[in-house]
C-alpha cells in the first residue's frame, strides 16, 4: 500500500499537541510557529533549561525542512504548495516530541539514512568532535544551511534520531524524523 499523507498526519496528532502544521514552510511560517510554541512552553511552566532545548531543537528542525525540502511529487502538486512539510510538536508524560516530515527523491535516501545512522552510533564526545570539525571545515551553502542541524539536535537532546522512509512512488519517499527531549534532564 502506498504512503498516505493524511493517515500519517493524524497518527502524529497524539498526546498533548502544542502545534501541528502541514503546508508550505516559509521564513514567516517558521517565525509564527516559534512564537506560538514559545508561549505554549510558558504555559506549561517548563524550566528555562527545557524551554531552551525544545526551542533550539525546534529551530533546527524547521530550518532543516526549510533548507532541504524538494519539489513535490506531481500527484501532490494540486493539493499542496511547494516547500511542503509537516511539523507536529507534542508533549507526552515525560518528554517533548518534535516530528517533521517531507518528501525526498529516492536518490537521496541512502545518503540521509547513512548520515543519521552514523550520528546515532556516536558517543557524546564523538558528536562534539564531529560538530566542531564541520563548524571549522565546511562552508555554508548559499541558502545558509551548514550541515550541522542533525548533529546539533543529537547533541542537545542526547537521544537517538528516530526516522522512517516510506515509499510514495518510484521517484519519491516520505521522510519522517522524530526527535525526543526528555523533561527530567
Amino acid at each position: 500500500m502506498s504512503f498516505d499523507i493524511n493517515e500519517y498526519y493524524s497518527r502524529l496528532n497524539g498526546g498533548d499537541v502544542l502545534m501541528a502544521f502541514k503546508g508550505s514552510i516559509s521564513s514567516e511560517l517558521i517565525s509564527n510557529v516559534l512564537e506560538v510554541v514559545e508561549s505554549r512552553l510558558d504555559e506549561y511552566d517548563e524550566s528555562s533549561k527545557i524551554r531552551k532545548k525544545v526551542y533550539n531543537v525546534l529551530v533546527e528542525s524547521l530550518q532543516n525542512l526549510y533548507h532541504h525540502i524538494e519539489v513535490l511529487p506531481k500527484a501532490m502538486q494540486k493539493e499542496y504548495d511547494d516547500k511542503f512539510g509537516i511539523l507536529v510538536v507534542s508533549r507526552q508524560d515525560d518528554k517533548y516530541k518534535i516530528s517533521t516530515g517531507n518528501f525526498i527523491t529516492q536518490d537521496k535516501v541512502d545518503v540521509l539514512r547513512n548520515k543519521i545512522d552514523k550520528i546515532n552510533s556516536m558517543s557524546r564526545e564523538e558528536l562534539k568532535d564531529m560538530y566542531k570539525f564541520i563548524l571549522n571545515h565546511q562552508r555554508l551553502s548559499e541558502k545558509g544551511g551548514g550541515g550541522l542541524g542533525l548533529v546539533d539536535i543529537a547533541r542537545k537532546t542526547g537521544n537517538q534520531l528516530d526516522y522512517t522512509f516510506e515509499r510514495y512512488d518510484d521517484q519519491y519517499y516520505f521522510f519522517n524524523l522524530d526527535v525526543y527531549i526528555e523533561i527530567a534532564m
Binding site: 533546527e60 526549510y66 542537545k156
Partner: protein, 126 residues
C-alpha cells in the same frame, strides 16, 4: 571609524561595534534562515578595524539562542578577532550564558577550543 549599530529583531541580535571604545557586543537571538547576509557587515567592519585596532578590544557575546547557520558566521567573526589578537593588540571574548544553560556554556567552550583568543565564561545569575 564609524560605529556599527544594528537593532535586534525576533531572529537577529542587537549589534554594537564601537571602534573608539574598543567594545564589540552581540546580544539576543541569532536564528535567521540565512545568516550570511546578516553577518557580512560585521565581518567587514572588523576587517577595517583590524587595520588600526585599540590596544585592548573587549568582546561581549550574550546570546539567548543561536542556530547552526549562525554558528559558522560567529566563527568567522571570531576568526577576524583572532587575527587582531595575533598582532600587538589584545582581544578578550566574554561569553555570557544564563544560569543552567549548559548548552550555551558548551557552545562557548567549542569556540574557545578552536579560536586562539582568551575566553571568559560569564554566568548570568537571575
Amino acid at each position: 571609524m564609524e560605529a556599527l549599530s544594528i537593532e535586534g529583531t525576533a531572529k537577529t541580535p542587537t549589534v554594537k561595534f564601537d571602534g573608539h571604545e574598543g567594545v564589540i557586543e552581540i546580544k539576543g537571538r541569532s536564528i535567521p534562515e540565512n545568516s550570511i547576509e546578516f553577518y557580512k557587515p560585521l565581518v567587514e567592519w572588523l576587517e577595517e578595524y583590524s587595520g588600526a585596532p585599540l590596544d585592548l578590544t573587549q568582546v561581549n557575546v550574550q546570546l539567548e539562542y543561536f542556530n547552526t547557520s549562525s554558528s559558522k558566521c560567529i566563527l568567522d567573526v571570531f576568526k577576524k578577532l583572532e587575527a587582531i589578537h595575533k598582532g600587538k593588540s589584545e582581544v578578550i571574548i566574554n561569553w555570557h550564558y544564563e544560569e543552567d544553560d549548559e548548552d550555551m556554556l558548551e557552545a562557548g567552550e567549542d569556540y574557545e577550543s578552536i579560536i586562539r583568543v582568551p575566553f571568559k565564561m560569564i554566568e548570568i545569575v537571575e
